[in-house]
């Protein structure tokens, strides 16, 4: 066991170095002036400045955009989880003529480039007056996140033995109740991943946010992209913005992380 632990730690070192190097680079860049960013040898120890953060927070309505992003991402996550779970459960527990084809059809949106979808979507939203609204973007993002959620959750639901559900039904549970009280807890890791994924899809998305948002629903990725000016990327400001934008994601993952590693409850089957 000891050697196992040692080997694990040794294997972790390159993995962490690989992951952390650019992140630390971004973090330090957010506190540096542009000139010191190019210094050779690269300065890891330096006197930090707060200019970049100040500029990002105060020159543009950063908090407004942050709120927009948060609301839209939350809406997306909830929506795609609910719809996706229902759909995945349905696919997992039924087989009918055409269900395989339907499963494949759902993936179709992930096969078309976003650019191709954005104009018809724009026109659709224009017609029903949902341009520059939260709902418009949420609907779009749910449709992006759902295919993956559904396919992933089908796998997790398939792994939940039917006997467990039967047992619950015999005990007087409704089918929905079985889903909520029995199946979901067992498949929790899958749901956590689907939630994280949905949140990220919405949080990081740029093209649809750019085209569909206006003054009222602009999200952070559009703002960050705007930091690539004709003078080139404003590295300091961009890094500062990126750091601040990462924080909600980190928080959310820390919360959901516990569910990715769940104890196994297969004991219920044998009982």
């Amino acid at each position: 066991m000891r050697t196992r632990k040692l080997l694990t730690v040794l294997a972790l070192i390159p993995a962490l170095a690989w992951t952390l190097f650019p992140l630390l680079w971004i973090l330090t860049a957010s506190f540096k002036t542009e000139l010191s960013l190019y210094a050779k040898p690269p300065q890891w120890i330096f006197s930090p400045i707060l200019e970049n953060y100040k500029r990002v927070l105060f020159n543009i309505p950063f908090f407004e955009y942050l709120t927009n992003s948060l609301l839209i991402a939350t809406g997306t996550t909830l929506g795609s989880l609910v719809l996706g779970t229902l759909a995945a459960y349905g696919f997992s527990r039924t087989r009918f003529w055409g269900s395989q084809a339907l499963r494949f059809l759902i993936l179709v949106t992930r096969m078309v480039p976003r650019m191709t979808l954005v104009v018809p979507y724009y026109l659709m939203m224009l017609k029903i007056g949902m341009l520059d609204t939260y709902t418009g973007l949420i609907i779009a993002y749910i449709s992006f996140a759902m295919p993956f959620s559904i396919w992933l959750l089908i796998g997790f639901f398939d792994d939940v033995p039917l006997e467990v559900e039967e047992a619950a039904l015999v005990d007087g549970c409704t089918p929905v109740g079985t889903l909520v009280r029995v199946v979901i807890p067992i498949a929790a890791p899958g749901l956590a991943v689907a939630a994280i994924f949905a949140f990220l899809v919405s949080w990081n998305e740029f093209l649809f946010a750019l085209i569909l948002s206006g003054v009222h629903s602009k999200t952070l990725p559009v703002v960050i992209a705007g930091l690539t000016t004709d003078l080139g990327p404003l590295y300091g400001e961009m890094s500062a913005a990126a750091v601040m934008v990462m924080l909600p994601n980190v928080l959310m993952t820390l919360v959901l992380q516990r569910y990715v590693v769940k104890g196994l409850t297969l004991g219920a089957v044998k009982g």
């Binding site: 000139l35 229902l86 039904l169 750019l210 629903s217 559009v222 992209a225 705007g226 000016t229 004709d230």
Partner: protein, 425 residues
């Protein structure tokens, strides 16, 4: 059997549960659906994101106070702005006023309100004439100039002084000076430009080709770069590339600035909009050591012009309010405020002679005089609806030339072929 009947009886309960879940979800989504309806004397402005946006936002409260008109700023990054404006205007505009780059005006002109009548009441003679031309198409004025830009020559006046040199007036002189000061070991390079597939590469190439007399299209609307003048210009361009840092093949607009700011290049050509950070001590090691001049000539002086304008959408219901805003944005007051905006990165320049010759401006922007001079002789890109397409093709071909995929003759031929293809349609 008990279980089946239980299931049937629960069927209705199940439907109810599903209904509740769906209803809650729907409610959640609708709650977040806050539509954006802000009419009544609010102008929707399509703006360029970044530090130009900063300057605008800083001065906007003054406009709103003076006129009582509110302005909602919808900013998009440089690479996406044209697309967004084109889409919005061609499908039924969400914008009242638009901040647009001059090459877009021919293409977007049919969606814009002509301003000739209104401009009659304006002091147009204060504008540098070619900046006004930037907003015109087929005899009508579609926009007012706000932020003029032009290519200028930047050089290390300290190093030049050491050797008793004056800024070069012709490309031959520039090449000679550049070779003399070219010392990769330091590293110190004679010149800097871009030689990637970035849009600036073709702009540099055009600058040189134009200066020897070449044109993108001739009077019969046929591609004309593959000419004696074009070849000469192309050769000089490639010689310039040799004087640049080896990584020039990946360079973009920003990299040209870096090379100058880090003291690696002795001379460079850059748009005036890139000059301000070169004088900022936290970004530039050569702040205060730079001199500015009009770009050298071949047989004529042809720095490329690029003016940002303010235009009014034809479909806007707020034409009068929009005109107030356009007037203000191109006004002397705004010009004075914007050129003095305390930012180390950039300003919105002014197209007005009175602003650029103002002593305060000259102090805030050391290159203001050269900006004015260059603008007076600046050359415009062909005013065609197809120009954006032509420019794209030219950009790719220039990139292939510098990457070694094509030789100069083949590149020039392809450029003309691409131009002709677009214009034949």
């Amino acid at each position: 059997m008990g279980s089946i009947s239980t299931v049937r009886g629960k069927g209705r309960g199940k439907a109810l549960e599903i209904g509740v879940v769906l209803g809650m979800m729907l409610l959640l989504v609708l709650v977040f659906g806050l539509p954006a309806w802000a009419q009544t004397k609010t102008l929707n402005l399509s703006m360029l994101a970044g530090f130009k946006e900063d300057v605008l936002r800083a001065n906007l409260p003054e406009f709103e106070k003076k006129t009582g008109i509110k302005v909602a700023v919808d900013a998009a990054p440089l690479g996406e702005l044209y697309k967004k404006q084109l889409l919005a205007l061609s499908t039924g505009a969400r914008y009242d006023v638009l901040f647009m780059d001059e090459p877009w005006i021919p293409a977007l002109s049919e969606f814009l309100s002509p301003l000739d009548e209104r401009a009659k009441g304006l002091d147009m003679q204060d504008f540098i004439p070619t900046t006004v031309a930037a907003g015109a198409f087929q005899g009508k004025q579609y926009a007012l100039p706000v932020d003029p830009n032009v290519q200028i020559l930047i050089y290390r006046k300290d190093l030049f002084a050491q050797k008793g040199l004056k800024p070069p007036a012709t490309w031959e002189e520039l090449l000679k000076i550049g070779k003399g000061m070219h010392d990769p070991a330091k590293p110190q390079y004679g010149f800097v430009l871009t030689a990637s597939n970035d849009i600036q590469t073709i702009n540099y190439m055009l600058l040189v080709m134009w200066s020897y007399g070449a044109e993108i299209v001739d009077s019969r609307m046929r591609g004309a770069l593959n000419s004696e003048a074009g070849k000469k210009g192309g050769e000089v361009f490639l010689e310039l590339v040799n004087l640049a840092p080896p990584a020039v093949k990946t360079y973009t607009f920003a990299d040209v600035n870096k090379a100058i700011q880090l003291g690696q290049a002795v001379m460079g050509i850059q748009w005036a909009s890139g000059a301000k950070p070169m004088e900022d001590k936290t970004r530039s090691e050569v702040a205060g050591k730079l001199g500015y001049a009009v770009p050298p000539k071949g047989t004529r002086v042809t720095p490329m012009r690029g003016v940002w304008n303010i235009a009014i959408a034809k479909s806007s219901p707020n034409q009068d309010a929009a005109w107030e805003f356009a007037k203000w944005l191109s006004s002397r007051e705004f010009g004075l405020a914007s050129t003095r905006y305390p930012s180390a990165i950039s300003a919105i320049h002014s197209p007005r002679v009175s602003v650029l010759t103002d002593p305060g401006t000259q102090e805030a922007l050391p290159y203001a005089g050269v900006l004015l001079e260059s603008l007076r002789v600046a050359k415009e890109r062909p005013r065609l609806k197809e120009y954006a397409d032509i420019q794209e093709s030219l950009r790719v071909i220039a990139g292939k030339l510098t990457a070694g995929e094509l030789n100069l003759n083949a590149a020039l031929q392809e450029m003309d072929a691409a131009t002709n293809k677009m214009l034949v349609k």
